[in-house]
């Protein structure tokens, strides 16, 4: 992705990312990672001490990558509709380039719920919520949104965006069966979803 992998530590990290994402923690083998990195197995322990630590390093990096792409929602120059459009367009593009990330993250959070606390602390939900509410206070009157339905809306937007990737293998097969191509489908879906959601929330 970024620069050419220079040192061994980086090679190991990149190989581990690849292997952990495709096979999960339990399915991944240190030998697989070593082979993929073109390096000896002992080096993995030299740099990362244990499989668990190596995994945690990979997960941490990925979690931060995802979070850092969401800061735009606080941009005060964007209207609510612009944010929705922006979210679908940017986030689906990101997932198109990293289609296996959602499954990986979901699995890890399921197996290791305590990691979520870190996640949540980083975001500081309540502050985020009130900031957003202030930013769009007047706008909200044009929409069919109440304090009660805000969590519904947020989960729905996330669902519409992320689900096709989590369930990708199934949806890809179904699309092929009826003559669609998954990537083309997702390209169209980006624009479709904005209209879909905005229509649903307009008064």
């Amino acid at each position: 992705m970024d620069k050419i992998e220079s040192n061994t530590e980086e090679k190991i990290f990149n190989a581990a990312t690849e292997i952990f994402i495709t096979k999960g923690f339990d399915g991944a083998r240190m030998q697989d990672i070593a082979d993929f990195a073109g390096i000896n197995k002992a080096a993995l322990h030299y740099y990362y001490r244990s499989k668990k630590r190596l995994f945690d390093a990979v997960f941490e990096k990925i979690a931060n990558q995802i979070l850092s792409r969401l800061v735009f929602v606080l941009d005060e120059n964007l209207t609510l509709e612009e944010k929705i459009k922006y979210f679908f367009r940017e986030h689906i593009s990101f997932l198109q380039n990293n289609p296996t990330l959602p499954t990986f993250v979901v699995n890890e959070l399921n197996r290791n719920p305590e990691k979520i606390k870190k996640f949540i602390q980083k975001i500081n939900l309540k502050e985020l919520g009130s900031k957003l509410e202030n930013q769009h206070k007047e706008e909200l009157e044009n929409y069919n949104i109440t304090k009660e339905t805000i969590p519904m809306l947020i989960v729905s937007i996330a669902a519409l965006c992320v689900f096709p990737f989590v369930d990708r293998v199934l949806i890809e097969s179904v699309m092929k069966e009826i003559g669609y191509n998954f990537d083309d489908y997702m390209v169209k879906r980006k624009e479709h979803l904005s209209d879909f959601v905005i229509k649903a929330i307009l008064k």
Copy 2:
């Protein structure tokens, strides 16, 4: 769930279901399953020969359970809106009782894409599609639905319904943080989603 587990085979099967669902294939241990069933490890191999076969038996049963709950979509006495309402209400109720199933199925399909072929053959998508189209031909004129957006709609409905369970741990934590309870939230969500979707597709 059903009757009291009578024989050993059934005990093993139920224990395996529990363990495989919570830990996945790679994470599950034959010893865990044996302990959970209150039976010896050798018995597992006596009845199911290998871990893989035991797993496949469990997966097959669950896949059929899910599919069998979807036949109502072909009920010709229901309008399109009724089917949408029915789907959200019934399917979310089912998932509330089996909240860990989506993750389990998604993971297995990701690791073993060839299983999807079986799935798809059982459904016979094209026939299903044309039957549905005929059933609702006149109705469709009231909605903002074209041949192009049907796959969008179906994926969206599935996403809105299933995603909260796939990503349950995260959403549950977020809800708790802002003072909501996941189960209460999902109860409300059932009704909310019908309105949301129907509003989005109305002309």
